[in-house]
Symmetry: C2
Subunit: 202 residues, 2 copies
Amino acid sequence: MVEKNTEEKIIVAAEKVFIEKGLAGARMQEIADEAGINKSLLHYYYRSKEKLFTMVFKIAFKTFAPDLIKAFEGDDDFFVKIERFVFAYLSIIDKNPHIPVFIISELGNNPKRLVDIIGYLDLNVQPVYDAIEEEIKKKMIKEIEPSDLIINVIALCVFPVVAKPIIKNIVFKGSEEEYKKMLDRRKVEAARFVISAIKNTD
Amino acid sequence: MVEKNTEEKIIVAAEKVFIEKGLAGARMQEIADEAGINKSLLHYYYRSKEKLFTMVFKIAFKTFAPDLIKAFEGDDDFFVKIERFVFAYLSIIDKNPHIPVFIISELGNNPKRLVDIIGYLDLNVQPVYDAIEEEIKKKMIKEIEPSDLIINVIALCVFPVVAKPIIKNIVFKGSEEEYKKMLDRRKVEAARFVISAIKNTD
DNA sequence: AAATGGTTTAACCAAATGGTTAAAGTAGTT
DNA sequence: AACTACTTTAACCATTTGGTTAAACCATTT
């Protein structure tokens, strides 16, 4: 048991409830219960549901904005960079498997929310674009739109987790074990798949 | 204006509202308004919100369960099958871009819902597995777990749509046009990417 | 003309919900 | 001892929400 102050306890509880039920489905009482406090105190710290939600959402989003830029700087081989990124990103997802669905759901209900957040994080994808274009110029990889490549890499990481119920039940006939094995395999195989797709064979 | 009976009008209206707001966020009054009827009549046809939602969800899910089996039967070249599937599936998504997020969201909130549905649709993925394994045996494609390949193909189709707000705002800096161009490109490029990844070069 | 099934109106209800208020208690600080 | 910040209790409130009921209306069919 780690001692936590009330503010933190509330955030942790709110995260849990919001991620599980969404903004509309979550109840302030449930968040208070989960935090082991009462509703009055909850409102004492965070004036409204909307404000509390916004905090939680921002935290969740920050956790998941992949640090693409960081992964792609440095002198390492481009393919090694991809391998490292996929492994790192899938490891984060492993630890927080419900966050991607949460973000996608709430952004689906209210895409405007993102506009506020973008300001806080400075996400400049240009360096990654440049790195990809350089590899193309050097004929190390095939011609591809940089944005397409980025989207593909992230898709191969995120989709298996957001579609878990479907994949687990239809592809793996309900086996949690088979599903987990697939996710684990993917930490290496997703990068292999991508590299194999773009590597130049001239 | 096509004349519709009330039952249909309700389903159409319910689809719209549920997809937009989710189960918890949708209001029966709003559905009634959208259908141009009153709440009494709404309950006259569909006794409860939950029942109406279940109907809508099943319809949405059916629309989106990709007909993998159909796409992979026949004598055509395996790579042509992939190309055809990707094109067809992305075209369906084009026409109903909000359904994937809807399914993922609601399944995230209540994964049990899927178990009911699976009975209705007979989804046997075995033939697709077999087809993939045969290609591997014939050394036409590289070694890959069939389930991984299936997941990858669908990920490359679905993810760009479910993550639209993020992709549009971060990758394409808010440009709807650039985003749409990417989706269109993908109808051909996603298959190219996959084929390039798995084609054997021995 | 009577019966039928769909439709409207409008009032109604119980429960839930986000949020408030006020008064009292507690622990540490000055 | 007084002050401060945090915490609890518990009552309270306005609004919303899913759902019901009953009476009347209307068009078609019998």
